[in-house]
Amino acid sequence: MAKGRPRKGKAEGKAKPRKEPERSPPGFETRAVHAGEEPEDQYRAVIPPIYTTSTYRLEEVGKSHGYDYSRTGNPTRTMLEKKLASLECAKYGLAFASGMAAVNAVLALLDSGDHVLCEENVYGGTHRLLSNIYPKFKIGLTWVDATDLENVKKGFKENTKLLWIETPTNPLLKILDIEALAKLAHERHALLVVDNTFASPFLQRPVEKGCDIVVHSTTKYIGGHSDFIGGAVVTNKDQVYLDLAYYQNAAGAVPSPNDCFLASRSLKTLALRMRQHCFNAKRIAEFLDGDRRIRKVYYPGLPTHPGYELAKRQMNDFGGIISFELDGDIEATKAIVSSLHYFALASSLGAVESLVAHPVTMTHTSLSLAERERIGIKDNLVRISVGVEDVADLIEDLDRALTKVLGPSRSRR
């Protein structure tokens, strides 16, 4: 699919005021490398310093250089926040200590008595926060299958303030229509929140489709190297930004300067990594789809996926996550995920290393059996996060583990 050339957001560094012919806004890869990062002034270091400082000396009472305390603001964090905003084509970015801290900050915008309408197939951690933590503040909650817009319409209440979705969803990779859902939310004076973790801004930029708030676990594709925990919120809305920034400082779930540096470093190769993730995932999905040891493959890049056409419209490519159901029981499933070599059995996703998870026992344990059954997360469901290794090694690895437990390949073709 053709890669879009998103235009730059306002949050990007100011252009130098000098008379010159007009420049077209920089492309995604260029912004990934440069946005938010101006060589610093003192020594002109190409890479701005990592400001591991808790506080800042004031010039005089009430007069700072823009920073007074690192919970409130830190130049290394600002650099990351600007880069995130630029890549999402949004005005504002805010970085948090984890994806859950970012989700929590958005939920903290609500008051007692407010209601959240939420896609039922979201990450287990988001599910836990909404169903176990926020009810005590009397925040109402309705789960909905947001692939059906009629369902969503019916789910709104007078006090619904947020419509919350993930697309692709975790772990069933449903594709939800951001543009249509934004419209529905706005008709009911609610805000649409999209968790864009699975797609990353390289594949999908929800604010361009009318979404109000984007949340991220930056631990995943944005960080991309399995080496820190982080989160982010991106928005175009001035008041939402001010409220979130206020909460970020008040509650203090901020990422360290070192982690902000690592996240900025990672974003520089986001496009390159995502291309390889997508390239590899497509081939693996096709391999799994053609193998009788697999009952069902969930990957939006397969034309048989119900969200295929929509994914083609709202994403630049289909991403690096695949889920599939094995032709076997829970024991066989556990045996297979434990026999893989390159796919490390580990929670998390979106890294250069391939990872495998068993949602029932790992990422979605906070859901009851009944909830899992309703949503369709079965015992034999496996989720893989395809890394940037050579895809032939990954397919061989999957084939070997499947053969060990279920016997040799029986091609469907």
């Binding site: 920089p26 390159l272 290393e353």
Partner: protein, 384 residues
């Protein structure tokens, strides 16, 4: 575990040298920020005793480097120059080094200003015709040292031929593989004995650390280098070792993008009416294009060119770019433009510069991984 087929290259890049931490399962190699290690008893350690000697983070990087270059072992240093300095420590007074004439200025400085003092003579010759090497060898020549492509004139030297000349003479052939990286070129597979790297460049790839490496296919030599690193104390620290490992994870993806962008930019420059000369091994017009194609699987991200307006035009171009950064160094995700005459090769005597073609008007580009259209637009505006 059953024997596995050798890893394919992109897989090796991610996994070689590393395994999940046996104590915690941590998937990423830990940063061992420790100076020393507790012993189980006198003389009983777990492989590490003091971090100047080595530490587990550096070791993981060394194993990765050895795997990627196809060597038996590697040692990682606090800079590329420290790596070459360690090589020079294997020589003695009276030894002779035969090197190619177009070398990085820092290497030249080390050879001519530092090691000449202790009686190690180095001689720089044009090795584009490899038959020259044999003629220039002396009885006391201990090392043939080449860079290919060379810096900044991007001359290509036939690694196989240079390695054979060294083998016939019973000496070592060293290749500085910084410009190509093992993703595109593996000198040890072509017969060279030793590869040196500035890890600062493409390997770490993000312009955020200084480091070097020596990789070798000779076990005894590897031990010697390790011993020198430990004695001289110029090994790479844990934080930078980790960042280098992290950088290498995307080496293949970055090198492809550097290469694809550079091919486009070289073609653009070649067709530009204000450009008088473009040097890029990927252009058919490069005198050793065929050799470059034969011994490497890509042409890399470095381009040198001259403008018709000479020095004045060159300086104006370098000072008016916006996306490109005017800075020393190369191989990072950020595109950089360098003026070899006053920057990287400042310490090279005028006469040598002239002979090599390092004119005042020469501009060197390190093409980053940005959108190629942005880079071309920016250059076009700066040149015009």
């Amino acid at each position: 575990m059953k024997e596995r087929r050798p890893l394919r290259y992109l897989t090796k890049i991610v996994h070689a040298g590393e395994k999940p931490c046996p104590a915690t399962g941590a998937i990423v190699t830990p940063i061992y920020q420790t100076a020393t290690y507790v012993m189980d008893g006198v003389g009983k350690d777990k492989g590490y005793d003091y971090s100047r000697h080595n530490h587990p983070t550096r070791r993981a990087l060394e194993l990765k480097m050895a795997a990627l270059e196809g060597g038996v072992d590697a040692t990682c240093f606090s800079s590329g120059m420290a790596a070459i300095d360690a090589l020079m420590h294997t020589l003695e007074k009276g030894d002779h080094v035969l090197a190619c004439d177009d070398l990085y200025g820092g290497t030249k400085r080390l050879f001519s200003q530092i090691y000449s003092k202790v009686g190690i003579v180095s001689e720089l010759v044009d090795m584009t015709d490899p038959s020259v090497i044999k003629k220039k060898l002396r009885k006391n020549t201990k090392m043939i040292f080449i860079e290919t492509p060379s810096n900044p004139m991007l001359k290509i030297i036939d690694i196989k031929a240079a390695a054979k000349a060294a083998k016939d003479a019973g000496i070592h052939c060293v290749v500085d593989n910084t410009f190509m990286t093992p993703y595109f070129q593996r000198p040890l597979e072509l017969g060279a004995d030793i590869v040196v790297h500035s890890l600062t460049k493409y390997l770490s790839g993000h312009n955020d650390l200084i480091g070097g490496a020596v990789v070798t296919s000779d076990k005894a030599f590897a031990e010697k280098i390790n011993w020198i690193a430990k004695s001289v104390g110029n090994g790479l620290g844990p934080q930078d070792s980790y960042l280098t490992i992290r950088g290498i994870k995307t080496l293949g993806l970055r090198m492809r993008q550097h290469n694809d962008n550079a091919v486009k930019i070289a073609r653009f420059l070649e067709g530009h009416k204000k450009v008088s000369k473009v040097i890029y091994p990927g252009l058919e017009s490069h005198p050793q294009h065929a050799l470059a194609k034969k011994q490497a699987t890509g042409f890399g991200g470095m381009i040198s060119f001259e403008l018709k307006g000479g020095l004045k035009a060159g300086v104006r171009c370098m000072e008016s770019v916006k996306v490109w950064l005017l800075a020393e160094s190369l191989g990072g995700v950020e595109s950089m433009v360098t003026h070899p005459y006053t920057m990287t090769h400042k310490d090279v005597p005028e006469e040598q510069k002239r002979k090599l073609g390092i004119t005042e008007g020469l501009v060197r580009l390190s093409v980053g991984i940005e959108d190629a259209d942005d880079l071309i637009e920016d250059l076009d505006r700066a040149i015009s």
